[in-house]
């Protein structure tokens, strides 16, 4: 791949002076006895897209899932170190994981709409969190979420049809609409385009760029071009360690670390 072209597509608008939205300090994750993540220090800037890249099994998804404590659902998984959201330790016993996940939403690798209607899919989050006061409110949230996910024009006439009947790309945008309907502050995306065709991928990437206006986004991706296109900040993981992080343009044009260079030029991974 050509490094120059990747760098020119990325349009970094980082705001280095703002305090980090989320911050990991010496984060380590164990699956049973096995340590999968070692001493990760990473700042996630507000209203930026941070992409986590690295070869399979490098711990990038593990780190992502520890940001909204989805790792809690795995038996034998243990997180050490400190992760903060607006300076609150999210692993503090006083933090309710339900509230945390309402603030830190997630979009998964495979589109996973509920086998319910499109409307129900988007309305479920606001309903359980009591965000909508009445039906009109809920309608408004559903409509605006679908609009922001760029799905409104495609589904406005069939909101009562099952969400599982949509195409893969539409399903993934439905999942994004569902995630932003709870008005999260941070949106985590775990390889959101890996199950999609190039056109659907392009649509989602454009969407990510728009969502950056209102949300802080962390995205795990296997595609370095995608990282270069959508993110302002990139972190490279290898074998459970954070090797290098920085502005996306710097990582892709001028990596400081030999391993990073090898990876982005396709020599490892």
């Amino acid at each position: 791949m050509s490094l120059e072209s990747a760098a020119t597509i990325a349009a970094p608008v980082s705001r280095p002076n703002a305090p980090p939205k989320m911050q990991g300090e010496k984060v380590g994750v164990f699956y049973g006895e096995k340590q999968a993540l070692f001493d990760v220090d990473l700042k996630i800037e507000q209203f930026n897209v941070t992409s986590l890249i690295g070869p399979s099994g490098c711990g990038k998804s593990t780190f992502l899932r520890s940001l909204n404590r989805m790792n809690d659902t795995i038996d034998g998984c243990r997180v050490i170190g400190k992760i903060t959201l607006d300076h609150d330790d999210i692993y503090d016993p006083s933090i309710d994981v339900v509230e945390l996940r309402a603030r830190v939403g997630m979009v998964f690798q495979k589109p996973n709409p509920f086998p319910k209607s499109i409307y129900e899919n988007v309305a479920y989050g606001p309903k359980i969190h009591g965000i909508a006061r009445n039906k009109a409110d809920l309608d408004e949230i559903v409509h605006s979420s679908l609009r922001r996910a760029g799905l409104w024009n495609e589904v406005k006439d069939r909101l009562q049809e099952p969400g599982t009947g949509l195409s893969g790309g539409q399903q993934q945008r439905l999942c994004i609409a569902r995630a932003i309907a709870t008005k999260p502050e941070v949106l985590l995306m775990d390889e959101p385009c890996s199950a999609l065709d190039p056109i659907a991928t392009a649509v989602i990437e454009e969407l990510i760029d728009e969502l950056r206006e209102n949300f802080t986004i962390v995205i795990v991706t296997h595609s370095m071009q995608q990282a270069a296109r959508v993110s302002q900040k990139t972190a490279f993981f290898h074998l459970g360690k954070l090797i290098e992080e920085g502005k996306t343009e710097d990582i892709f044009t001028n990596p400081k670390n030999k391993q990073t260079q090898d990876y982005i030029t396709g020599r490892i991974g």
Binding site: N68, M70, T73, D75, V98, E99, L100, R101, A102, G105, M106, V107, F108, K110, N112, P113, F114, P115, Y124, G125, I128, H129, P162, T164, C175, R178, A179, A181, T182
Partner: protein, 439 residues
């Protein structure tokens, strides 16, 4: 010939050269395998057909019952000879109705009431059950006394069998249950149009009786119904709750492994052991009544629980994990995840498992024998605490009877039981279709 033996030039030039992959052998093996499968299915279907044909050919006659319609004279001199029914209504209950029935049939046949031997034969011609038929008419409407009206009386079981052609008349008279005289009477009544064979509602409503024509499945049906209701009410909530806890909430450790192994073992425990357990715990320890559908239902609940738990856990496990992640990812609590998303998707599996468990419980006999549900119960139970029997137990009891009429009733009862089982399985299929969702 192997392709290694082929020179390269040959492969490149001769397009017609085909490599030998042993395709013929593979196709032959596949053909043989399909043949074995078809043979297995044919054998299975054959046995099923034999079973159904033998049961239905023996049992379908149980659903009709020979009846005799004759003018019955409700003679005041027999029912209430001292004319005291105004002061003592009990005389109407205890009156000698068999004599009235006998006289009515004798009159229709032109037999003199003074012919003692013939009258005895006529006594065996109509069912003793006519006593209650006539009593009911008189007690409900005492004004019939002194009048004559047409009444349909049940024929005795042997006459019923003769009418259905189940008694071989070539056997010498002394060796068969029906005398030549009775056969002649039967033919005469038939010619007069007094014999009819209506649908045998009694088979479904009567309780236990030593006379086949008045024996029915009424008590067994009510008993089985009570037990199914108790099993459904107890086993479904307990089983589903236990499965949800084990599958969604419990940490996987030695203790839950131990529980899982034990549940699987319990599902394989012979049902008679559950009967012993019920006898020891429910009857001897808790002092519940014997022969009661309540105890039967509780025993069958214990027996059905492992089946329901296993089916429910399998149904929960088959819900894709992505649905769980999706729910948790937008901040649903575990409970909301289970009840809003996982459980609705698992419902068809749970219902199917439950109905199959219920069907197994419906056909279960052994544990009920131990808790005393194998009893002669003539009156339909009004509460689950009254003595009752169950369908399979009734079949077991009738199968032990010698009369020809009980043989057909045994098969008739089996047909009723099979019908219920088929209905339940149909319900399982329909519910599955109704609730199934695609994703």
């Amino acid at each position: 010939m192997t392709d290694a033996a082929l020179p390269h030039a040959t492969v490149a030039t001769a397009a017609s050269t085909r490599r030998d992959f042993g395709l013929k052998r593979r196709h032959a093996a596949e053909f043989r395998f399909r043949l074995y499968g078809i043979v297995a299915i044919v054998i299975g279907l054959g046995f099923l057909a034999i079973l159904l044909v033998s049961i239905f050919s023996k049992g379908y006659t149980a659903f009709v019952q020979t009846a005799i319609t004759v003018p019955v004279e409700f003679s005041a001199s027999i029912i209430d000879k001292d004319n005291e029914r105004a002061t003592n209504p009990r005389v109407l209950v205890s009156a000698n109705y068999p004599v009235i029935a006998r006289n009515a049939v004798a009159k229709a046949l032109g037999v003199s009431p003074d012919d003692k031997a013939a009258m005895r034969d006529i006594g065996k011609f109509v069912s003793d059950g006519s006593r209650s038929t006539l009593r009911e008419i008189v007690v409900n409407d005492p004004s019939v006394i002194g009048t004559t009206r047409n009444v349909t009386l049940l024929a005795a079981a042997d006459i019923d069998s003769a009418n259905k052609g189940q008694i071989d008349l070539s056997v010498p008279e002394s060796k068969r249950k029906v005398s030549d005289q009775q056969v002649a009477w039967l033919d005469r009544l038939k010619q007069e149009g007094a014999i009819s064979t209506p649908f045998n509602w009694g088979l479904l409503t009567f309780g236990a009786s030593s006379r086949p024509e008045t024996a029915g499945l009424g008590v067994a049906l009510v008993g089985s119904l009570y037990m199914m209701a108790i099993v459904l009410l107890c086993a479904l909530p307990i089983g589903v709750a236990a499965s949800i806890y084990l599958e969604e909430f419990a940490k996987k450790n030695r203790f839950t492994d131990f529980i899982e192994v034990n549940i699987n073992n319990l599902a394989a425990v012979p049902s008679i052991v559950f009967g012993l357990l019920g006898l020891a715990v429910f009857i001897n320890f808790f002092g519940m009544p014997r022969s009661a559908p309540l105890v039967g239902g509780l025993v069958l609940t214990l027996m059905t629980l492992p089946t329901i738990i296993i089916a429910t856990r399998a149904a929960l496990r088959s819900v894709p994990p992505s649905i769980r992640s999706a729910a948790l990812g937008i901040g649903a609590s575990k409970m909301q995840m289970v009840f809003d998303h996982v459980l609705p998707l698992a419902t068809p599996g749970i219902l199917t498992g439950t109905i199959i468990g219920l069907a197994r419980a419906l056909g279960e006999t052994a544990p009920l024998l131990l808790i005393g549900m194998v009893a002669f119960v003539a009156d339909r139970p009004t509460t689950p605490l009254d003595p009752a029997t169950a369908l399979p137990v009734q079949i077991y009891m009738w199968a032990n009877e010698a009369e020809r009429a009980f043989v057909e009733r045994t098969s008739g009862a089996i047909i009723v039981l099979l019908l219920f089982l088929a209905l339940m399985n149909l319900a399982a299929i329909l519910l599955r279709r109704r609730f199934e969702r695609r994703w």
